[in-house]
């Protein structure tokens, strides 16, 4: 039995440990005392009498840097002076008894001079704009004025909770003589945790190590940077008490205060020629980042690059802005940036084709980008362009054209007769894309490195800090490294992510592990292979990732390859809707996917299906709004992930890859295509153009008046 199977076996047997399960009777705990107001200035902290075993820690107790930084954006480790959202960490109580800490925390009184909070992002004040991305191509106003028809549309996408299986957690453990602190963290970016801790505690890098959680859990972006904040709290307490520290958020605490998906608001105006071809596009995108605009630049770049989806338009203006509000941090989630734009653009495309009385497939094909009719980011490698064959494949798999026409006819007849059918039917088609790795210059700044060594017995070892999201990554690495080095996969050991032994591989996000890190690992293996002819064993090779030359990125102009690779998908969703309750049933899902070279088809299907569940969650099931600066409690009690019984059994087909094609990340593809296909289907079924997700099923929202 291979190592991955052994790991699964121990999980099935109930022996799989999460960070919160690691036994340590001596460990102390931390309770976070949080801001009671959305915006204001801290005027005082009233403390109860603390027993000697309990320590209270504020920003003043941080020996080093008081903020963590993510790509230039700073977030206070503990708020000092000013608070920016309800629930922002202000003070830590650390001690041996969790219940006692919670009781004491209840008695801490943080008094603030409250200020009017910014809770709205769709009509922002100037001081709310954290950053913007503007893209200009051609003469938009002129083209718009000369267009045969002008069409506008407005769309909104909601927030979403990560709902990671294990909530935010960390275990900080001293070595025997308390000279070295090791953190077990679920972070998908161990080196960021390391860097944050070293700066905050002012410790030499070598006095720290960050290891990944004992068993892999899908990397959801909720643990991308926020785990560094939780780790910093544990580190502070560990240093203050000289004890090991365990922090594990309750589901409730996680739900209310950890980061969520950024909601967005998008406005589209298009100028069309008489046949329905795009002549001019003007797009405005507002993204709510909550109190701290972490990853805002990346989000805006992705949103701007996806603003026109896979279509070509000669004159384009995109203005995308990140808007801060006094809400908990809102940021990355699968499909970050791209998903919101693709949702809006695909629904807008449907509106445009209706205006010119075209069927969905032919409108899309006619407006699709090609080597000569470019995407918004300009010249792109052919392998990163949308292939029209995807639309044909999706249409063939689902019988789209026939069903679309038949459902349309049935709906019109039903409306004429004014009688309710047994069920309302609809089908939608949408195109979506996913870029692998960070956008533009982001990837180059990371210095992703993988180290491979081959010892005297012919055994290989791969070292990185890549946090695997499933058992499959290591299985794939073993196979690829084995093929490259000419040794059996069982002879390859893969070291767990550990900042004290592995090189920095950057965060596990944007499908980087399966694309960029895997490519770098293969390059390191190739280097060993070459060295083997000249040098005796043992051999070690470290390889650093370089963006392909074709990806040359001009940030000023917003042109170039933009990323390591772009995958595309055409998604079709069919729904049946109960005419009385408006409850939709997902009758079918079909996905035609251009994933480039597929390394493991079973795993690729699994990744797509996982994405489908998250996409339906975002579009239909998961409802989260803020009231007076926080998520209301009833939403915690009622928050539901899509259950297995309501999820479709999807049909997924991969486009045959001709020639040497790059491996493309596909984990976000469903998120970037399905919501629009689903809403398109639902809109057809109920006869109303729905424009927002999560979809509201209230009758008053599903009437033609509501759509206006």
């Amino acid at each position: 039995m291979n190592r991955e199977a052994e790991e699964v076996r121990s999980i099935l047997q109930g022996r799989g440990l999460r960070i919160g399960d690691i036994p340590d009777r001596e460990a102390c705990f931390v309770t976070v005392v949080r801001s009671p107001v959305s915006r204001g200035v801290i005027e005082g902290i009233g403390m109860p009498e603390l027993p000697p075993r309990v320590r209270a820690l504020t920003a003043a107790d941080i020996p080093g840097t008081k903020e963590l930084t993510v790509f230039g954006v700073s977030v206070p480790i503990l708020a000092e002076g000013r608070v920016r959202y309800k629930g922002e960490p202000v003070l830590l109580l650390a001690g041996p008894d969790e219940t006692e800490l919670e009781e004491l925390a209840e008695k801490v009184a943080i008094t603030c001079r409250e200020e009017e909070p910014f809770l709205n992002f769709t009509d922002p004040a100037e001081e709310q704009i954290a950053c913007s991305r503007t893209v200009n191509r051609g003469k938009v106003d002129e083209a718009m004025a000369g267009a045969a028809r002008r069409v506008t549309g407005e769309y909104a996408t909601g927030t979403q909770e990560h709902y990671t299986p294990e909530t935010q957690a960390v275990y900080a453990r001293w070595n025997r003589d308390r000279t070295r602190l090791t953190l077990l963290s679920p972070s998908s970016w161990p080196f960021h945790v390391h860097e944050t801790l070293a700066n905050c505690l002012r410790l030499p890098r070598k006095a720290l190590a960050v290891e990944s959680a004992p068993a892999p859990e899908t990397c959801l972006d909720g643990k991308l940077w926020y785990s560094s904040l939780v780790a910093a709290h544990a580190g502070l307490a560990a240093a203050a008490l000289g004890k090991n520290i365990k922090i594990r958020y309750s589901r409730e605490e996680d739900f209310f205060f950890s980061p969520k998906r950024s909601p967005a608001h998008l406005r589209y105006t298009a100028g069309l020629d008489a046949t329905g071809r795009l002549q001019a596009m003007d797009v405005q995108i507002l993204v709510n980042t909550g109190a701290y605009p972490v990853f805002a630049r990346e989000t805006l770049d992705r949103a701007a690059a996806a603003a026109l989806g896979g279509y070509h338009c000669p004159a384009v203006r995109v203005r995308a802005s990140a808007v801060t509000t006094n809400l908990p941090p809102l940021g990355p989630f699968a499909g970050m940036g791209s998903a919101m734009s693709l949702f809006a653009m695909e629904l807008f495309a449907d509106k445009l084709r209706k205006e010119t009385d075209r069927d969905p497939v032919s409108w899309k094909k006619e407006n699709l980008a090609s080597p000569r009719r470019r995407l918004i980011i300009g010249e792109t490698p052919r392998s990163s362009l949308p292939d029209p064959a995807l639309l044909d494949l999706a249409h063939r798999m689902s019988d789209f054209n026939r069903k679309h026409a038949a459902f349309e006819l049935a709906r019109k007849r039903g409306a004429e007769k004014d009688e309710a059918p047994e069920s309302l039917r609809g089908i939608g088609l949408a195109l979506g894309s996913q870029v692998s790795g960070f956008f533009g210059a982001g990837e180059a700044s990371l210095g992703t490195t993988v180290r491979v060594s081959l010892d005297m017995d012919g055994k290989a070892r791969i070292c990185s800090s890549a946090v695997p999201g499933s058992h499959a990554l290591h299985r794939i690495w073993r196979r690829l490294a084995g093929e490259s080095l000419g040794i059996p996969p069982e002879e390859i050991e893969i070291a767990g992510a550990d900042t004290s032994t592995g090189p920095d591989t950057g965060p596990a996000v944007f499908s980087r592990n399966i694309t960029i890190v895997t490519r770098t690992m293969q390059d390191a293996c190739e280097l060993i292979k070459k060295k083997r002819f000249r040098s005796p064993l043992p051999l070690t090779a470290a390889k650093r990732y370089r963006l392909p030359r074709s990806a040359g990125w001009n940030d000023q102009e917003f042109t170039g390859g933009g990323c390591a690779a772009t995958a595309w998908a055409a998604a079709v969703v069919e729904v049946r809707v109960d005419p009385l309750t408006f409850l939709p049933e997902i009758a079918g899902v079909w996905l035609a996917v251009d994933a480039g070279t597929v390394l493991d088809e079973k795993e690729a299907r699994r990744a797509m299906e996982t994405g489908i569940s998250q996409a339906f969650g975002w579009a239909l099931f998961e409802r989260m709004t803020f009231r007076r600066g926080r998520v209301p409690r009833d939403q915690f009690l009622g928050y539901r992930l899509p259950p297995a019984r309501d999820l479709p059994n999807p049909e997924i087909a991969f486009l045959e890859a001709g020639g040497k094609r790059p491996v493309k990340g596909i984990g976000e593809l469903a998120m970037n295509s399905l919501p629009a296909a689903f809403v398109g289907a639902l809109s057809q079924a109920v006869g109303v153009d729905i424009r927002n997700i999560p979809v509201s099923l209230r009758e008053e929202d599903l009437t033609p008046e509501a759509a206006r």
Binding site: V8, L12, Q13, P165, S613, R640, R645, L647
Partner: protein, 159 residues
């Protein structure tokens, strides 16, 4: 309050406040870490155990209600042939859950197969909806449950 009950086939007696959650009793007093804490609302299913032949979220069970009852957790169930049917099937079909939901998915499969030895896909999906999961596919899991059913039917046939 003194509470006698059968835990994984052994008679045990604990001293506990009556409204403590069974989940916490199992984890803290018996060191049984297979049932995991999730929502503490009876929704996520991470804490499922078998109480008097029924699958229950142990976070919603006050300990007084296990008085003289029979509790089976993954630690007890893993010693049975019924478990091995599921384990072999899940490994063969590459079902790879995380530590949070893995034991709950195994126990759910067991109880489903007890009721429907040859379940339909719909029955499997309905049963698995007891365990919330954001992060893996359903198709593999359905295949795993079907294979587990086949293993179990074969074994009972052979026997």
């Amino acid at each position: 309050m003194r509470i006698p009950f059968t835990l994984n086939g052994r008679q045990v007696l604990v001293e506990s406040g009556p409204d403590r959650r069974l989940l916490h009793l199992l984890r803290e007093e018996f060191g049984l870490l297979g049932a995991k804490e999730g929502c503490l609302q009876g929704y996520c299913g991470f804490c499922l155990v078998i109480l008097n032949d029924e699958l229950v979220p142990s976070c919603m069970v006050p300990v007084f209600s296990v008085f003289q009852g029979r509790v089976v957790t993954i630690e007890g169930f893993r010693e049975t042939s019924d478990f091995r049917d599921i384990e072999h099937a899940f490994l063969a079909e590459e079902v790879a859950p995380c530590p949070s939901c893995g034991p709950a998915k195994v126990l759910t499969t067991h109880m489903l197969l007890k009721r429907f030895p040859n379940p339909t896909e719909k029955q499997i999906r309905r049963a698995l909806s007891r365990v919330s999961c954001r992060c893996t596919d359903v198709t593999t899991l359905v295949a795993g449950v079907k294979a587990a059913g086949a293993n179990r039917r074969l074994r009972s046939h052979v026997r």
